[in-house]
Amino acid sequence: MNTIHLYLRSMAMLLKSHLQYPTSFFMQTLAQLVMEGGELMVVILVVDRFENLGRWAGGNLYFFFGLMSVSFYLTELFGRGITGDFPSMVRTGKLDTLLLRPRGILTQVFCSGMDPRRITCIGVGVAALVMGSIKSGVEWSFLKALALCESIVMSCLLILGLFMIEGILCIHSVKSVELVNAITYGGRSACQYPIDVFPRPLRILFSVVAPFAMTMHVPAAYILGKPLYGWPLWTVFVTPLSGVVVFFIMTILFNKGIKFYRSTGS
């Protein structure tokens, strides 16, 4: 409980500090809106030209896009410490100060950053979700709403877990490791679209190694009424749990990895 309280206090403080320069904050938030709006425009143009993607209609594609933006940017909003700041903490030796304090390293890393500018990106994602669900004529039920919530939470944990890989590698190599972007940002680009349109190697990568398909596409396909691979209902609630599994494994590895941390000495 103490940890959560600490996290909330830090978030409130960070928010205040971001709002200290209102004009700059406003400009950057606007820029984020335009950027994510541009991404949505691409999907709209794709739908305009091609009308459907395999068995998925245009409306379905908006829904998949929305689910990815909401999850990805929620993670960036609340987990900025992991998704953005950690490599520079290692490089500059700022991590040393965290080692001295009587709290877990991971807790402190989480408490050290947030990115409220992402709020507009989440807004675009929500708009895409609403648009997608209206265009696909989704009949909402309690189970479907539950599946959506579970999917978003689990996807956030998954994305955090994947970003932690970069953190772990970076403890060893000091440099930030661009290659990991292939599964984090690459996963975002690919899994904005349903997994079953991709060739087998990519399907395996994003179902087993970085299971975006499990946390997002299985529930989303159920909500849209077109179950993925014809899997039964219970899978919709079980497969997203792979998100928490990845997060858990990465937490253990992270705590193991931190033992090898050698300060850069600056």
Binding site: S24, Q28, L45, E51, A190
Partner: protein, 263 residues
Amino acid sequence: MKAYLTVFRMRNRMELQYRGAVIGGIICQMFFGLILIALYRALYAGNPQAIPIEHVSCYVWMQQAFFRMLVATDPDLLDKIRSGNISYDLCRPVDMYWFYYARIMAQKLMGSLMRGIPMLVFAAILPKGWGVTTPTTFCGLITGLVGLFLGLVCMCALENITMAFTMRTLDPRGMQSLMNLLMVTMSGNLLPLTLFPDSWQKVITMLPYAQLLDGPIRLYTGEYVPADAPRILLVQGIWAVALIITGYAMWNANRKRIIVQGG
């Protein structure tokens, strides 16, 4: 002139220093290219289009290969603007605009060649429909290369215009991310311009952003037949001159009202 050439050469060598660091970036971008092509192939599977998929794949690879040309910026200049050290540059016996023009050109050229060549070699060995196509005519190859050079000239001019804005606002983030968005959308990096609605294309292909990579790539793939080539190259040339004049005027205006930020 000699001074600018020396700056250009020095900056080229600087770029070549970090060969190791780019490997991760190259692999990452190849992966992005493969994802995009897989997606377009899936879209094409049910809905064949007028433009063959081979050209789209080729377009995607070229965009990935020369991505660095679009987005590379001069970090030293940004630092100088923020810290006020730009005042030292006023003492140099060279024209500031062309000094930074030569620097950014070297950075964009070397940076993208270093990344682009391995990527295009990789794309060339991929099976048909996944990799790059050979140009349809010899003329297409030559005009494509000339177009690419003119595109580079335009790109450096655009970059200097962005920098001129930064000198006024001092905070690069807002303006730069806006310019970058215009850059990646309107130049065909996010979605090939050939897949935009046909009515939009008439306008978009006339804008400066389409001159950077879209024009040269279409000349190469044969989307623009050789008979069109003089017209395309002329549009590029006009934009290059216009952008350089605009940028030059902005830099001159800025030089008169430059504010040095403190100690």
